[in-house]
């Protein structure tokens, strides 16, 4: 009995965690910053002692002080993407293009359930496109071009019915290009310059990761 009470209270604690911390989203952004190199001081205004990140430069909040935008395009930043970014539950615009972000795209970014636009193009990201992106039901713009991404395009992405712009050109992707859902409308240039990408998938028994 006691252990069940303990378990329940533990779960309650987990559920309440975001609300308990005074600067939960700010801490997520600090976790990102902690691993980055920022020679141009784009993140200088990110003072961790403030009650929320809403007056930090390149951050925009809504009226409830929740982060809705992160705008760090062309900021001369390098380093890995922090999984903690996945905590920004209200984030709509994640604009990190034109930097030197490296390493894998954290699958936690699939938790950004309010995301409208994700621009990670023009970095040095590698590894696969996370399948978890299929959870980004509000996503309209997804630009991952000009990185070093490999693997196949996750088929789960065909369920992103709001996706209007998709660009994975200039990577090292393989397999075939999906044709279902929004993929029916994307121009072929969006997939260009991936030497192992084998053209639109054919209906039939050919696996989508053919050639991977």
């Amino acid at each position: 009995m006691a252990s069940r009470v303990a378990l329940v209270s533990f779960l309650l604690l987990l559920a309440a965690a975001p609300a308990m911390s005074t600067n939960y989203e700010g801490e997520a952004l600090q976790a990102l910053r902690a691993r980055l190199s920022d020679p141009s001081n784009a993140l200088q205004s990110w003072n961790p002692s403030l009650v929320n990140p809403c007056t930090w430069f390149h951050v925009t909040c809504d009226v409830r002080n929740r982060v809705i935008r992160l705008d760090l395009g062309n900021s001369n930043i390098s380093g890995p993407l922090a999984p903690e970014l996945g905590r920004l539950q209200d984030l709509q615009y994640l604009e990190l293009y034109g930097n030197n972000f490296e390493g894998k795209i954290p699958e936690e970014l699939g938790n950004l359930k309010s995301l409208i636009s994700m621009d990670l193009y023009g970095n040095r990201l590698e590894g696969e496109i996370p399948k978890s992106f299929a959870k980004l039901k509000s996503l309209r713009f997804l630009r991952l071009n000009n990185n070093k991404l490999s693997g196949s395009i996750p088929r789960e992405l065909v369920t992103l019915s709001n996706l209007k712009v998709f660009d994975v050109s200039n990577n090292d992707l393989c397999g075939t290009i999906p044709i279902d859902g929004p993929f029916a409308t994307f121009p072929i240039q969006s997939f260009g310059n991936n030497s192992r990408l084998n053209g639109p998938e054919l209906q039939g028994p050919v696996p989508y990761d053919f050639g991977c």
Partner: protein, 978 residues
């Protein structure tokens, strides 16, 4: 010890002399002693000196006679004798060979007739209060071998009459007032084996003749004089030298390597000289060496491995030099090492575990303030005699080895300011002799072990600035000797043990910056010894322990950012030594106790961010030492007491965000030291007093959000130090005066928004070369935007950085707060204010075109020109504003196309161009693609393209040409499919 040998063949002759003759001599000796005794103020030790006791002095205390009954020794050390030697009839004691009066209270001078003691071989007058010159007649004591006059206040003898003492072997003149060069007579005392001239004021060079003349010298002590120039290499010619003490002089020129040839040397002290240079490896030849002390001698080499050959070393002290490199592994054979001190150098590398396994006699290991890396070797547990272990301020990492618990004799342990991680080992509880435990400024985590309660000797416990979590163990309250407990800046939580403080000894307690909760322990100040108590930034609740008011030594009470409630205890007014009182950010209600006006020593008073009500007590005007007064963000009512104008030391006064009424007292103009005045967000009325212009030190003036009327007083032009001027949200009429730009040349923030200002923007504002924030929104300002605003150099990218370094106001800036309309909402900028660069001219009657010069201001983070009557087109070079995050040009009469350069603003995240007459294709580009809310562009009938639904016709197709300038092409790639 001198022995009196009576040669047997002399006995018959002695017997031949009549007894009466001998008796007469003995009586005169006794009389001489009694005469001296009677001259003393204090001679309790000499109670046996009485003819009634014995007519022969030979039985008296401290007296020894030869067989003939003559006094040969007088030995009265440490006998509390107080008086002079003036009545001592030395001539009556012709047989005296030894006179020892050391460690008494004798004063006056040494009488010159002491020379009558012609048989004296040993004279010890050390540790008295004798003064005046050493009598030259002393040099007549031709038989004296031991002469000790140390620790008096004796001055130079007349050297011209002071002949050498041919018999003297031991000469001690330490700790007197000898001046001038090396005493010349000493150089002719050629039988000297022991010479101590330390702690005098001798100067000049150490003479080379010392080495040639004093051939038998075994011990030379010249410590703490003013000897200068080099250490003479001739010292190496002293073949018998064992002890060389020449520390604390002005010697220079390095350590002569030839010192390594003094093969019998046991002690080498060269400390506190500006020697410079290396430690010569030749010192490794000193195989007899036991102690080496070259502390603070500006040495700048590595430690030579050859020192590891000095296997008799027990004491090595090389601290406070500029030594580099690592500790030689050869040191691991120095098995007699007892005290090892190399702190305060730039030594690096790892600590060899062999030191601890081999140095079984180690008592003190002090390597603090260096750059050592690596782990603390677990082998440290082998050095079981260790009493002092100082490893602080290095770059040590890894765990604290649990083996440290084996060091049962340890008294002081300081591992602070390293990169140590992991938990505090439970074994630390075994250190029952430890009085001081300092682990602060590391990365320790886990909980504080309950075993700490076993450390019964512990007086100081400092764990601040780690990542410790969990609760303070209840056992901590059982420590009987605990005086200081400091755990600030950790992740500790839970309540404080209820009995903490019951030992009545706590004087310094810091819980700041944790997550502690519950009430403070009622026993905390039981002994009333508390001096410093800081518990700010926690979740403490309840009220303060009642005993605080009885802590008469209380100096600092820092309890801000908690949940304390109830009224502020007026008993605090009884802790009259209090200098620092911070109760800010709590839930205190009720009035400010008038008794706080009794705290005459108070320099810092912060009661801000509570729910205090009632008026500001007039008695606060008595706090004459106050430099900082912050009562902001409460619910205080009534007028600002005029008596606050008496606080002559005040530099910071913040009464903002209350419900204060009435006018600003003119007496505030008396606060001559005031640098910061915050009266904003109250209900103050009337004009800004002219007297504010008397505040010549004022750097920050916030009067915004009141009901002030009347024009800005021209006296304000005297406040030439002003950096921040915020008069926004009042009812201030009149023109923006030209002198603002001409006189207040330090201004960085000028906010006059939401007033009734009229007229045009004076071009002179461009003279404000430090201005980074200009807020003139919501006034009745007309005319055009002056082109000269493009010359506001602090708004040019990179310029504000340069300003900050030349301007020493950064710390001061830390406390500033200015409200800005930021991304659609009002936001207060505080700690990052110095980074915010922007112009807000919205909501006025500004006409004509936006001057293209504004696009020179490449450091702008925001630009708001909305709600004016501006016409013309958006400046083509708007893309120069690379830092721009916020651009609002809405609700004007702007026409033409949106310049394509706007698409290079990659930080732009808040854009509003609505309600103008703009036309043509909306440019595309990296960042504009993400600004996909159509309302950004609404109310411009002729705009087309994304994100508007209206697509562009072929007429606008020509704009595609402009798109090719866009660096969007950088990643654009059109590939043939194959």
């Amino acid at each position: 010890m001198e022995r009196v040998h009576i040669q047997p063949f002399l006995l018959p002759i002695l017997l031949f002399f009549s007894l009466s003759f001998l008796e007469a001599e003995a009586q005169s000796e006794a009389q001489a002693l009694l005469k001296w005794k009677s001259s003393l103020f204090q001679a309790d030790a000499l109670s046996s000196w009485s003819l009634a006791n014995s007519t022969s002095a030979c039985r008296w205390f401290g007296v020894r006679c030869n067989s003939a009954g003559s006094i040969v020794q007088l030995s009265l050390p440490n006998a509390n004798l107080n008086g002079t030697l003036d009545e001592f009839d030395f001539a009556s004691l012709p047989s005296l060979t030894m006179l020892d009066l050391n460690t008494n209270l004798l004063n006056g001078s040494i009488p010159s007739n002491i020379s009558a003691l012609s048989n004296l071989t040993s004279l010890d007058l050390s540790s008295n209060y004798l003064a005046g010159p050493i009598p030259y007649q002393l040099s007549n004591l031709r038989k004296v071998r031991h002469l000790n006059l140390g620790f008096n206040s004796l001055e130079n003898p007349d050297y011209t009459k002071f002949t050498p003492l041919p018999s003297v072997t031991n000469l001690s003149l330490y700790n007197n007032s000898l001046t001038g060069k090396f005493p010349p007579f000493v150089l002719n005392c050629t039988n000297l084996t022991y010479l101590d001239l330390s702690y005098n004021n001798l100067m000049g060079k150490i003479p080379d003749s010392l080495s040639t003349n004093l051939f038998y010298l075994e011990s030379l002590n010249l410590t703490d004089n003013f000897f200068e120039e080099v250490i003479p290499v001739s010292l190496a010619n002293l073949p018998r030298l064992q002890n060389l003490h020449i520390g604390s002089n002005n010697l220079t020129g390095g350590i002569p390597p030839i010192l390594g040839s003094i093969s019998g040397l046991r002690i080498l002290e060269l400390y506190n000289n500006s020697l410079g240079g290396p430690i010569p490896s030749s010192l490794g030849q000193l195989r007899m060496l036991e102690r080496i002390d070259i502390k603070a001698a500006a040495l700048n080499s590595t430690i030579p491995p050859e020192l590891g050959l000095c296997t008799n070393l027990t004491y090595l002290e090389l601290s406070l030099n500029q030594l580099t490199g690592g500790l030689p592994q050869s040191f691991s054979v120095l098995t007699k090492m007892s005290e090892f001190v190399i702190s305060g150098n730039s030594l690096s590398g790892e600590i060899s575990p062999d030191f601890f396994t081999n140095w079984t006699e180690l008592i003190s290991f002090q390597i603090q303030n260096n750059e050592f890396v690596g782990r603390i070797p677990p082998e440290i547990g082998s050095a079981t005699k260790l009493q002092f272990l100082f490893l602080y301020n290095n770059h040590l990492s890894g765990l604290i080895p649990p083996e440290i618990g084996r060091l049962a004799d340890l008294q002081v342990l300081d591992l602070s300011a390293n990169f140590l991680s992991g938990p505090i080992p439970k074994t630390i509880g075994n250190l029952t002799q430890l009085t001081s435990l300092a682990l602060f400024y590391n990365s320790l985590n886990g909980t504080i072990p309950a075993e700490i309660g076993n450390m019964t000797a512990l007086a100081t416990l400092d764990f601040n600035t780690n990542q410790l979590e969990g609760e303070l163990p209840a056992t901590i309250a059982q420590l009987p000797n605990l005086e200081l407990i400091s755990v600030f800046d950790n992740h500790l939580s839970g309540g404080i043990p209820r009995d903490l403080g019951q030992n009545g000894r706590l004087y310094n307690v810091s819980f700041s910056n944790n997550s502690f909760s519950g009430e403070l322990p009622p026993a905390l100040c039981n002994g009333f010894a508390l001096q410093h108590f800081t518990a700010d930034h926690n979740n403490f609740t309840g009220s303060l322990p009642a005993c605080l008011g009885n802590c008469s030594g209380l100096l600092r009470l820092q309890l801000g950012s908690n949940h304390f409630f109830g009224s502020i205890p007026s008993e605090l007014g009884d802790a009259t030594q209090l200098t620092y009182l911070d109760l800010s950010e709590n839930k205190y209600t009720g009035p400010i106790p008038t008794k706080l006006g009794n705290l005459a020593q108070l320099t810092y008073l912060d009661l801000s961010e509570n729910k205090l009500t009632g008026p500001i007590p007039t008695k606060l005007g008595n706090l004459a030492q106050l430099t900082y007064l912050d009562l902001s963000e409460n619910k205080l009512t009534g007028p600002i007491p005029t008596k606050l104008g008496n606080l002559a030391q005040l530099t910071y006064l913040d009464l903002s965000e209350n419900k204060l009424t009435g006018p600003i007292p003119t007496k505030l103009g008396n606060l001559a030291q005031l640098q910061s005045l915050h009266l904003n967000k109250n209900s103050l009325i009337g004009p800004i007093p002219n007297e504010i212009g008397n505040l010549a030190q004022l750097q920050s003036l916030h009067l915004n959000n009141n009901n002030l009327i009347g024009e800005i007083p021209s006296s304000l032009k005297n406040c030439k130090q002003l950096v921040v001027l915020d008069l926004g949200d009042n009812g201030i009429p009149g023109n923006i005066l030209e002198w603002l730009g001409e006189k207040l040349s330090s201004l960085r923030v000028l906010c006059l928004r939401s007033n009734m200002l009229s007229g045009s923007i004076p071009p002179q504002l461009s003279l404000l070369s430090s201005l980074q924030l200009l807020g003139l929104a919501d006034n009745n300002i007309s005319g055009s935007i002056p082109q000269s605003l493009g010359k506001l150099t602090a708004m040019v990218e990179g310029m504000q950085e340069r300003k900050k370094t030349t301007n020493s106001l950064y710390r001061f800036y830390y406390r500033e707060s200015v409200s800005i309309v930021w991304k659609g909402r009002e936001a207060a900028f505080q700690k990052t204010l110095s980074l915010v660069v922007g112009i807000d001219l919205s909501g006025n009657y500004l006409r004509h075109a936006i001057p293209t010069e504004l696009t020179n201001l490449s450091g702008l983070v925001f630009l708001n020109l909305s709600r004016n009557l501006l016409d013309g087109s958006i400046p083509k070079m708007i893309g120069n504003l690379k830092k721009l995050e916020i651009l609002d040009l809405s609700m004007n009469y702007l026409s033409g196309t949106i310049p394509p350069s706007i698409s290079s603003l990659t930080f732009l995240d808040s854009l509003n161009l609505s309600s103008n007459h703009l036309s043509g294709r909306i440019p595309s580009g990296h960042q504009l693609q993400t600004l996909d809310d159509p309302s950004i562009y609404s109310g411009n009938g002729e705009l087309c393209g994304f994100p508007l639904t209206k697509s562009c016709s072929s007429i606008q197709a020509s704009d595609v040409q402009l798109l090719t300038d866009d660096d969007d092409e950088k990643y654009g790639c059109i590939l043939a499919w194959d």
